[in-house]
């Protein structure tokens, strides 16, 4: 989807500010959200592309203001709700009780929810299926064009490369899951991932491109087509 998360090339965000004394976690709740997500990642509730896509579904103004781990909190709440594991009303009630310093929480009913997951309902994690193989369609050095597509769902093809031509720098010929379909449970569609090298002038135009700059980006085979005109 063409969302605010797809930031490559945007103007207006000011300077990059490095804080040399930044701790690993700047907030306690951020550390809990991140690490709860790490634990849940291994339980088969969601896959990583679905998790990323959930973040993309945030309202743009929230995406920009809720902080990085705030996006993870949003994703966790929404996926757990959709999976019928923790309901929003339950979180609302528990949060209200915490906010009013209640010592004893209203217990939740443990039945009537999709937990524990049935074995065959568990979602596999990871991007590389090591027990599978694929035959790459493109070769190192080949000129390719990024397909000019604007899917409304999850995609890892960045806006700033669409319709642009580059050269295959490296063929990552492992069997990689195609995130655009896995995020929506439409199949893993295993395929090669290519590191494609773009000249800055191709991406940003002759008047704005910085000199002697190349951008390398990893794209799935389905995001690319042979560039017949510029072989």
């Amino acid at each position: 989807m063409n969302g605010i998360h797809d930031m490559g090339g945007l103007h207006g965000f000011g300077p990059v500010e490095i804080d040399p004394d930044e701790p690993v976690f700047t907030t306690e709740w951020g550390s809990r959200i991140f690490c709860m997500t790490q634990v849940i990642d291994g339980l088969g509730i969601w896959n990583l592309d679905e998790h990323r896509h959930e973040i993309e579904l945030m309202a743009p103004e929230d995406y920009l203001t809720h902080t990085y781990y705030g996006r993870w909190l949003f994703a966790m709440e929404h996926i757990l709700e959709r999976r019928n594991i923790v309901r929003r009303a339950e979180v609302d009630l528990r949060a209200a009780e915490i906010a009013s310093d209640r010592r004893q929480f209203t217990p939740v009913r443990t039945a009537d929810r999709n937990w524990p997951l049935a074995e065959d309902a568990k979602v596999p994690w990871g991007g590389w299926r090591k027990d599978e193989s694929v035959t790459p369609k493109f070769a190192e050095g080949q000129r390719v064009r990024v397909r000019n597509i604007h899917p409304p769902g999850h995609t890892r093809v960045t806006n700033y490369t669409r319709g642009k031509s580059g050269d295959i720098y490296r063929v990552n010929a492992q069997a990689w899951v195609f995130p655009d379909t896995r995020a929506h449970y439409q199949g893993e569609n295993l395929q090669a991932v290519y590191t494609v090298r773009f000249d800055a002038q191709t991406l940003w135009g002759e008047s704005q491109a910085e000199p002697n700059l190349y951008v390398y980006i990893d794209l799935s085979e389905n995001h690319l087509e042979a560039d017949q005109e510029n072989q």
């Binding site: 804080d19 990323r52 609302d92």
Partner: protein
């Protein structure tokens, strides 16, 4: 929206996080002890020192360097390094004519097992938006002034492949040990927003 603002000393996100953690414990999805272990892992076990160890080894052991450039993760495993969020690692080498720098414009993909968790600036809108378009300007603002003859390679790591920059080994550094090299290599060198390795410790 259910966000409770009656508790000014506690942010609503902190309250909702606590609520979810409490519920997940109650219905046996996870235990807070499991979560504590992960927190400790990221606070104590992994961080940029891990990556510095890898680069320092490559500087003193040319055969290790060859293996590292061929398959980063396999070489890291020799040093006992690995973990989630990095399935394939490409190490990209700086030279006098080439400078490498890493970003993820779509989220904030980062080699967690090698560098720990990314700093706030790496996840910032400013870095993600600007680095692919004007890295010379960004690097210059961060104190890395590169002449036009130095080619910049930006690695936008939006797939499951992760990148680590191998900085240039400093000249006339034969007197430095592997451990002394490791002390001089920072997270910023390995992301590529710093270039010079100081000679003095």
């Amino acid at each position: 929206m259910g966000h409770n603002h009656a508790h000014p000393e506690k942010a609503w996100q902190a309250i909702r996080t606590e609520a979810i953690e409490s519920l997940l414990n109650e219905i046996n999805v996870l235990t807070s002890e499991d979560v504590d272990k992960v927190v400790r892992h990221y606070e104590e076990n992994v961080g940029p020192k891990t990556g510095a160890r890898v680069i320092a080894r490559a500087w003193v052991d040319p055969e290790f360097k060859t293996r590292l450039l061929a398959d980063g993760l396999v070489a890291c495993e020799e040093l006992g390094i690995g973990g989630p969020e990095t399935e394939l690692l490409h190490v990209v080498e700086n030279t006098p004519r080439v400078h490498n720098v890493v970003v993820c414009t779509l989220c904030s993909c980062y080699p967690w097992p090698i560098l720990g968790l990314p700093p706030a600036w790496y996840k910032s809108s400013a870095y993600r938006s600007r680095l692919v378009r004007e890295p010379r300007k960004v690097l210059s603002e961060l104190g890395v002034d590169l002449p036009d003859e130095v080619e910049i390679r930006v690695w936008d790591s939006v797939s499951e492949i992760r990148y680590l920059v191998m900085p240039e080994k400093p000249d006339h550094s034969e007197n430095l040990s592997e451990a002394e090299f490791a002390e001089r290599i920072t997270r910023d060198h390995m992301i590529g927003v710093a270039r010079h390795i100081p000679q003095a410790g």
